[in-house]
């Protein structure tokens, strides 16, 4: 099938206004924020999708997927377009992007059973604003909250800034509806718990559009007590001290909604108003009065236990101010994009990994040492640091943060800077048994390590693909390594 025939066939399945072939929009759809600089400079080297389509219903998606499956048309499911790892990048000539734009209805907010059901294209901010009117919260607050949509958040196994209390999206999704390439629609019902075999929600959660198209999700809701919020901040001696305090809080069973520690470099870019060139440790206690009191007490006890590494307490108002301005809006994204057209610079990149408490400091140390000694463009780095921002009973994440003077052609930037840096981070993480991606997903540029990430369990991942998408039409190149995709590296 060629592009013209594909468009002709699509026009028999959808209305005219559901098919977008505008060149600028197709260019925009050909890559996500992974290649943001090359994209802004109009030098992307990947094919444009043939069309972006906007289905109105699950049935339409089912028919579209069946058609694509029968005709070997690659499908890229799309939500709020905030992907950062190439998950929305197109590697096939014959591709359509199925955008959740019109799946925009909040279907039900059930404040007694504490759950909300929405279509995939509902922006998280919209849902959050709606439930706040009832004194509730989704508890999900990724930095992309003003832009990201529920379908994409679930498909990428997203996490939010309050995860230590509320969990990641996988802890919030009660049930969902998804469509497979053969057109089959699966609905996973909404119950408080189940033991009916393996938890099949997790086939859809985090599939990154490689197995199915998520059309509807039901998430938990929580009581919201903003009046009780308490903020804590400290300047600390080093990252290791911060990790120890985080661990102490977590293993004692306390669940602050925010629990973070920053390296000196990362602290300097986030906390210009108080960092004093030191590492920073911050907490936010949230919930009902009793919870907040207990968590605050737990934080203070943990800080006291590691008092040798605590340099100074920070005014809690400064932490609160910072936190109130953390999310990036569509305007922030657009401003960065416009800036990249004129300047040889951008806002930097991140690579997020996770490991147990004992391993995280080692990975951090090894990565820093290797980048400084091995990365050929180390002299161009303007920022290299990291922070831990999501903690668990048994470990935490590390968000490596870096930026650099871009001294290369825009189309070469990722090969010369970001990917070699990410390679060091991933290699050091896998070497010590950590996970190479904590919450951004694998996308297309960490797929070279997917097998190593999963080891012998890759068999299960591969079998899922073979079972649900045997013809490989779903988001070619994402998660699963593809020989034919290497040319875009």
């Amino acid at each position: 099938m060629d592009s013209a025939t594909l468009l002709e066939k699509l026009s028999t399945m959808l209305k005219v206004d559901q098919i977008n072939t505008n060149h600028d929009d197709l260019y925009d759809a050909s890559a996500d924020r992974y290649k943001k600089y090359a994209k802004a400079r109009k030098v992307l080297d990947v094919p444009l999708p043939v069309a972006i389509v906007y289905p109105d219903s699950t049935d339409e998606i089912s028919r579209l997927l069946m058609f694509c499956n029968q005709n070997n048309v690659n499908v890229i499911p799309r939500g709020g377009k905030t992907a950062t790892e190439g998950g929305l990048e197109n590697w096939k000539e014959l591709t359509i992007v199925i955008d959740a734009l019109r799946l925009d209805k909040i279907l039900k907010i059930d404040d007694y059973n504490m759950q909300a059901t929405v279509q995939a294209g509902v922006p998280l901010q919209q849902l959050e604003d709606s439930v706040r009117k009832l004194g509730l919260t989704t508890g999900h607050s990724p930095q992309s909250k003003p832009v990201a949509k529920l379908g994409g958040l679930v498909a990428t196994r997203s996490i939010g800034q309050f995860s230590t209390l509320y969990g990641g999206i996988e802890d919030m999704v009660v049930g969902l509806e998804c469509v497979f390439p053969n057109g089959h629609v699966s609905r996973i019902k909404n119950v408080s718990r189940r033991a009916g075999g393996p938890d099949i929600r997790h086939i859809a959660i985090g599939n990154e559009g490689t197995l199915c198209y998520i059309t509807e999700v039901t998430v938990k809701l929580f009581r919201y007590f903003p009046e009780n919020n308490q903020f804590f901040g400290y300047l600390i001696k080093d990252v290791e001290t911060g990790i120890k305090v985080l661990r102490e809080v977590m293993v004692n069973g306390y669940r602050p909604s925010v629990a973070r520690t920053y390296s000196e470099e990362d602290a300097a870019q986030h906390f210009y108003h108080f960092h004093k060139n030191q590492c920073v440790l911050i907490f936010m206690a949230e919930g009902n009065v009793g919870m907040v009191k207990a968590i605050a007490n737990g934080i203070e006890q943990a800080v006291e236990k590691f008092a040798d590494g605590i340099l100074e307490k920070v005014d809690s108002k400064l932490i609160q101010d910072w936190f109130n301005h953390l999310n990036w809006s569509q305007k922030d994204i657009d401003d960065e994009f416009e800036g990249m057209k004129e300047n040889d610079s951008h806002a930097g990149f991140t690579t997020e990994i996770s490991a147990d408490w004992g391993t995280i400091p080692l990975i951090y140390k090894n990565v820093m040492a290797r980048i400084r000694s091995e990365f050929p463009r180390a002299g161009d780095l303007t920022m290299l640091g990291g922070h831990s921002s999501h903690s668990y009973c048994n470990g935490t994440n590390m968000y490596f943060v870096y930026n650099y003077k871009i001294k290369c052609n825009p189309e070469d930037e990722m090969r010369i800077y970001h990917h070699p840096l990410q390679t060091i981070i991933v290699e050091e993480t896998l070497k010590l048994g950590g996970s190479m991606c904590h919450h951004h997903g694998i996308g297309k540029y960490r797929n070279e390590w997917t097998k190593e990430e999963h080891g012998s369990a890759y068999y299960m991942l591969e079998t899922l693909k073979n079972a649900f998408d045997p013809k490989g039409i779903m988001n070619f190149g994402t998660i699963y390594p593809q020989e034919d995709g290497k040319k875009y590296r």
Partner: protein, 265 residues
């Protein structure tokens, strides 16, 4: 058509760090970069070559052999050859001795034009191009901000020169020396990813005292006419950072600062 680009590698002054206690510049680990005006000259030459692929570009520099890596990067940009004039005996040469060395090589070779930078970041005396013109008997012009390619290829280039608040257009008979300004729009391209490790080392020719048939008294400190009476590092005062809130008081403080310094009326 052969273009010689006369270039210089200089310390990256943007990377200079200052020791506020000892009032000295910290020079350790300071990187060398291609002088920005010279980079514009090379970029201009590459632009001409894009219009006329027959053009041969030769870069010429007087520098330690440690700049070979930088020369290799230029060769990976479609520069044809590099001449590295390098000898420990050149160390300490002032602009007079440097001109003598460069002229010795340039008299041995052929060219249609010499493109170079107007100023260098480290010395900024702008003496070498005009001294070379004197020695070689060529016309020379500084502060070139634009060069017309088509007239250039016809053998009598017209070019724009920035002078205070005006831009004047000149033309010149070749051969000539044109000193390009960093205020020009010429920007050196980056080496493409696939060329980063291309071996171009065979296209660098190193010339020493011996090859140029120079006498010891002609170069280095001995061959220099400039005597440095005294040098000093300007004392710098570390200014504390002031952080203001985005409120009426903060805005007022910023406005007052800009007003006091003449940025706003």
């Amino acid at each position: 058509m052969k273009i010689v680009c006369l270039i210089k590698f200089v310390p990256d002054v943007e990377e200079f760090k200052y020791d506020y206690q000892r009032h000295v510049l910290i020079r350790e680990n300071l990187k060398q970069i291609l002088n920005p005006d010279d980079a514009c000259a090379v970029a201009c030459a590459l632009m001409i070559k894009r219009s006329n692929p027959e053009t041969v570009i030769e870069v010429v520099t007087m520098a330690p052999v440690s700049v070979s890596g930088h020369l290799e990067d230029l060769l990976r940009l479609n520069i044809d050859q590099a001449i590295l004039i390098s000898d420990i005996r050149f160390s300490g040469s002032d602009t007079f001795a440097t001109t003598r060395v460069l002229a010795r090589y340039l008299k041995q070779t052929t060219f249609d034009v010499i493109l170079t930078g107007t100023h260098s970041l480290d010395g900024s005396t702008a003496q070498v191009p005009s001294q070379l013109a004197e020695v070689l008997g060529l016309p020379q012009m500084s502060n070139v901000v634009a060069l017309d390619t088509s007239s250039f290829l016809k053998g009598k280039p017209s070019f724009d020169v920035e002078h205070d608040t005006s831009i004047m257009t000149f033309s010149v008979d070749l051969p000539a020396i044109l000193s390009v300004s960093r205020d020009s729009a010429y920007k050196l391209p980056y080496v493409a990813y696939q060329d980063l490790n291309r071996d171009v080392s065979s296209r660098i020719r190193v010339l020493s005292h011996q090859e140029l048939d120079l006498q010891p008294q002609e170069t280095g400190l001995e061959g220099s006419r400039t005597e440095v009476r005294r040098s000093f590092v300007k004392n710098m005062i570390k200014k504390d950072k002031v952080i203001l809130n985005n409120d009426r008081e903060g805005i007022e403080a910023v406005y007052c600062y800009l007003h006091e310094h003449g940025f706003v009326p």
